[in-house]
Amino acid sequence: MSTQEYVTFRICDQLFGLSVIEIHDVFRPAKMTPVPLSGSEIAGVLNLRGRIVTAIDARSRLSLPPREKTSNSQGLAIGVEHAGESFGMIIDEIGDVVRLDDADMEQNPVNLDATWSSVSRGVYRLGDRLLVIMDIDRMLAGAGGADTAAAA
């Protein structure tokens, strides 16, 4: 009967969920400084209340097409702490907080893309959509460091 609260958010057309306790804050990234030579998943670095936050482009990380350059292309960022550092994951839209029963979570489908399955803990069937529960640690750890190594 154990349940967990998840913050839902949208990246491209996919709905994702992250446990509430894993999320530090949600903010609108402003004045992002791109870091030349870094991998494409690194959106840049930015100043969040005096801390330097490394912004991760979730779309690039998940091999999704980049966001269209529209006026509100800034998007939103979910602030998380990982290994003592601050990260911001750029997402497209933030959604509701849902309470879900652990028992209802289903395993990743076996035919899920390798990148996706590595960052997915499991899937919930919501009324009309599927919610992928994100493994934020793996998400931030990078695609096997290969990208960063190549960039460096």
Binding site: K31, T33, P34, V35, P36, L37, S38, I42, V45, L46, N47, G50, I52, T54, I56, A83, E85, F87, L140, G142, T148, A149, A151, A152
Partner: protein, 880 residues
């Protein structure tokens, strides 16, 4: 860990460091009562505390050591290096046990009878065993029977006196605290020189002791121990505060009158003070990193059989403890290096006529936000040839490089990896890991290392490190819309290059270079290094070049803009970015933006390929320059800038450009005829005109060469001005009509070189004599003109003689000497500074003159200066 124990460990470690230093000092100066008292007191304290918290092993060693020290103090035993080594060995043993205590919180098993027995034997006055440095390692590793802890074999119960202060019986040879204090107060050194009055010595000793007490007293009260972590977190918080302050100030600048202004300024001030104060808490005198060095030098000099004196200066120079920690090991290594390679053996020193004791000098001082640490020795210095040889053998450089490198560059090769000049490997250094490690360590903390060396007189290593790592001064530069911070330490200068500027970026194949003061500077664009897309705008747009020096590499970094210098707080990079060598961190600027801090070391690596190309090119350039210089040396006397013009004919005529003041075109209708000939109003005065050959025009525009001398100005009318050429003057014919000095081939055409003074005196008769008033009636001064070149002979001789001197011309030194030998006397000798120098002639003043303007001699082509020099020389001669 037990609080009491950890307190004891910290305190004892500090005391032992002091004892180390003091003992070495004491050894070299055994009469120093204050030092001995200090050592005695420290060892005594250690012993006392050990007994108090129940550490029998430590206590018995300290006791034995103290007994020996007591004998020194009483003068019962002479102070010998061997016995001091023994005391040092017991200090080492104590340290070893302390290390075990810190790790395991109990004393290591085993006993120290060997050491204690030696100490006691020496205390009894026996000679020290020939190997005075017992290997300390076995103490821990040896599997000793644990049960056998009998630390006091020498203390039969009840035999010692009761000491009330310590609450136990005294051991043999031990004195009570009360006695000890009394001894300190009344010490009357038996080794005091007889000549001095005893009373004076006693009072002096007492004064030292009292002074010591005064100094020690308040320190204990005014200082507290603070955990380093607390300081670190304070520093972090202050850094945040500084950033927030900067942001607030930025906002304030953008808003007009605000009620926040005054309080914000207060906040700003207080923040600055707070920052400074917190920085200060992190500061430690560099002396604390030097404490171990006297001991190291002492041990090294004993091992190597050299006599070495370590002099330290600026121990109180403070720097960030983080930096201090990082600099300790490199310093130790460098000191060892100086002992081993720097200072010669005693025999070599005597043979070289030096004092037999070598000196290693350690110096620290502040210089513009940096700490400079110098490690110098007065040893043999670096052997340039041997380093060159070795570098060639090891393939560090190739033969062409070896030829082209300067001595200083060769010296710096000792920093190359895998390079060691020690002829033989000693147990201290010479294993090929050495200065390169030091260099890497120093560079890691953003410092630089360099060296000066004079063969036979010693070498000095100079380390320049930042005061603190947390806050650095950085140059903010811009490329496209990106901004980056460059650590100021690596920036040498800024150069603006562009179409209008004197500096221009030039291309060699695809490599960009800049001519900067006789050197080619390899350039890289920051946008290329960082792989930024640059719009293909015109390449000639102006750019800023940041000239940087990283180790040996000097290069220019092309950026679009340079903003300003800011004190920035360095934030470590996220691990996701940490592997990138181009960046060393990030920082938040006053406007709240995050920018990346470029790592000069990383950037310089991208320059490496560029530089190799440039180096090859430089080689060729150097060779070409050498050839040109050799050629120039031959031609230097005749190479001269000539102004080509036509006057009265189609053949070009010429005169030395240096004689001409201005070139003018004057409306001929303004010329006026006077009794003295044609004149024109020129710059507010009348200028007489002379013809350079043809007729002077009376209408249209008349090209004119203007000559001036003092207040006199004369215009020489010519038909047209052709060109200016710098060429070798090769006289073909020298005997010509008046007004012509000779004919030379300039630009492939035969050109008449005009005698300027001839034409000018036509227009202005006073020209030749007016400027320099020479008393013609008095005996004319005799001048010897030594001039190898006919052009100048012809130019100078009439000029000087027109000024009222008696001129004798010699075409060379031989001729001049012959004339002098024949008994001719001269008042002044005009000699060519460029030729074989004739610097002294008896009874005459010698004037060095030159056809070049860049040398320190009177220029031949400057008539005024030359005549002036002659006159001054005559005055000098008369005065002498």
């Amino acid at each position: 860990m037990d609080d009491l124990l950890s307190e004891f460990l910290t305190e004892t470690a500090e005391s032992l460091d002091v004892v180390d230093v003091e003992l070495v000092r004491f050894e070299s100066n055994p009469g120093d009562k204050a030092t001995l008292n200090n050592i005695f007191r420290l060892v005594h304290t250690i012993k006392g505390t050990c007994g108090f918290i129940g550490l029998p092993r430590l206590e018995s060693i300290a006791h034995a050591g103290e007994t020996l020290l007591g004998k020194f103090r009483d003068g019962a035993l002479p102070v010998t290096p061997a016995s001091v080594t023994l005391v040092l060995a017991s200090i080492d043993r104590i340290k070893l046990i302390l290390a075990h205590l810190a790790a395991e919180q109990v004393e290591p098993p085993g006993d120290d009878r060997d050491l204690i027995a030696q100490l006691e034997r020496v205390s009894q006055g026996e000679a020290v065993a020939p190997t005075p440095r017992p290997a300390p390692a076995p103490v821990i590793s040896a599997p000793v029977v644990v049960a056998e802890i009998a630390p006091e074999p020498e203390a039969p119960e009840g035999e010692g006196r009761w000491d009330a202060d310590q609450g136990r019986f005294l051991r043999p040879g031990e004195v009570s605290l009360a006695d000890l204090e009394a001894a300190f107060m009344n010490t009357e050194g038996p080794e005091v020189e007889e000549a001095k009055p005893v009373v004076a010595t006693v009072s002096a000793v007492a004064a030292v002791v009292e002074h010591d007490d005064e100094k020690k007293g308040p320190i204990g009260v005014n200082t507290i121990r603070v955990n380093v972590d607390v300081l670190e977190s304070l520093m972090t918080m202050v850094s945040e505060l500084v950033l927030t302050r900067n942001q607030l100030m930025q906002i304030l600048r953008n808003s007009a009158d605000s009620e926040f202004k005054a309080p914000l300024q207060r906040l700003s001030g207080v923040t600055a003070e707070l920052q400074e104060a917190v920085m200060k808490t992190r500061m430690q005198p560099i002396g604390s990193a030097w404490k171990k060095l006297p001991r190291i030098v002492r041990d090294a000099s004993q091992d190597l059989g050299k006599k070495i004196d370590l002099q330290m200066e600026g121990e109180n120079t403070e720097l960030d403890r983080q930096v201090l920690e990082l600099i300790k090991d490199p310093l130790t290594h460098m000191i060892r290096n100086s002992c081993d390679h720097g200072v010669e053996t005693t025999e070599q020193r005597i043979a070289a006529g030096k004092s037999e004791t070598g000196v290693i000098k350690l110096r620290a001082y502040h210089e513009g936000g940096h700490i400079i640490i110098e490690v110098g020795d007065d040893g043999a210095g670096l052997n340039t040839d041997r380093i060159r040889q070795k570098a060639l053998e090891k393939g560090v450089i190739d033969a062409t490089e070896a030829m082209a490198m300067t001595d200083a560059q060769i010296h710096r090769l000792v920093f190359a990896p895998g390079f060691s000049t020690a002829a033989k490997v000693t147990n201290m250094s010479g294993r090929g890991v050495g200065m390169d490690v030091v260099k890497t360590n120093v560079e890691q903390i953003g410092g630089t290392i360099d060296l000066r060396s004079t063969f036979g007189a010693g070498s000095t290593f100079i380390i320049k490190i930042p005061l603190t790592l947390a806050i650095i001064s950085a140059l903010i530069v811009g490329v496209e819309d990106h901004r980056f911070a460059l650590p100021q330490l690596s920036v040498i200068e800024l150069v603006r290059a562009g179409k209008r500027s004197e500096h221009r970026i030039e291309m060699i194949n695809t490599t960009r270079v800049l001519r900067l003061r006789d050197r080619l500077l390899p350039l890289v664009a920051l946008s290329d290094v960082l792989g930024l897309m640059v719009d293909d705008g015109p390449d000639d747009r102006s750019a800023c070049i940041v000239v940087m020096q990283v180790g040996e590499t000097r290069f220019g970094l092309i950026v679009d803009e340079v903003f300003d210098t800011e004190e920035i707080v360095v934030k470590p990079l996220s691990k996701r970015l940490g592997s990138m060598s181009e960046y060393s961190g990030a920082t938040i600027l006053g406007d709240g933006a995050v920018i990346m801090i470029l790592d000069p070391n990383g950037i310089s690596r991208s320059v490496a390929n560029v530089e190799r190309t440039v180096n090859r090119m430089l080689d060729e350039q150097t060779r070409a320059a050498a050839a040109a210089a050799a050629k120039a040396a031959q031609e230097t006397q005749t190479r001269i800038s000539m102004l080509l013009f036509t006057a009265g004919g189609t053949e070009p005529r010429a005169c030395p450009l240096s004689l001409v003041t201005r070139l003018e075109e004057i409306d001929a209708s303004t010329f006026e005829m006077t009794s003295r000939g044609l004149v024109v109003q020129y710059r507010g005065r009348l200028m007489p005109l002379a013809s350079g050959g043809g007729a002077i025009r009376r209408e249209g525009r008349q090209p004119m060469l203007v000559f001036s001398q003092g207040t006199l100005v004369v215009g020489l009318a010519v038909d047209s001005i052709l060109d200016i050429v710098e060429d070798v003057l090769d006289f073909q014919l020298t005997d010509q009509a008046s007004g012509v000095l000779g004919t030379a081939v300039l630009k492939g055409r035969s050109t008449e070189i005009i005698d300027v003074s001839h034409y000018l005196s036509q227009a202005e008769p006073g020209w030749a004599a007016a400027a320099v008033q020479v008393d013609v009636r008095a005996n004319r001064k005799r001048i010897l003109l030594i001039e190898a070149h006919p052009f100048f002979r012809n130019l100078l001789a009439p000029m000087v003689s027109a000024a009222g001197y008696d001129v004798t011309v010699a075409s060379g030194l031989e001729e001049a000497r012959a004339r002098l030998a024949a008994g001719a006397t001269f008042d002044v000798v005009l000699a060519d500074a460029d030729g074989a120098a004739l610097t002294e002639v008896e009874g005459a003043q010698v004037i060095q003159m030159s056809s070049r303007r860049d040398v320190d001699a009177v220029p031949k082509s400057d008539r005024h200066a030359l005549l002036d020099a002659i006159q001054r020389a005559i005055h000098r001669g008369e005065a002498a």
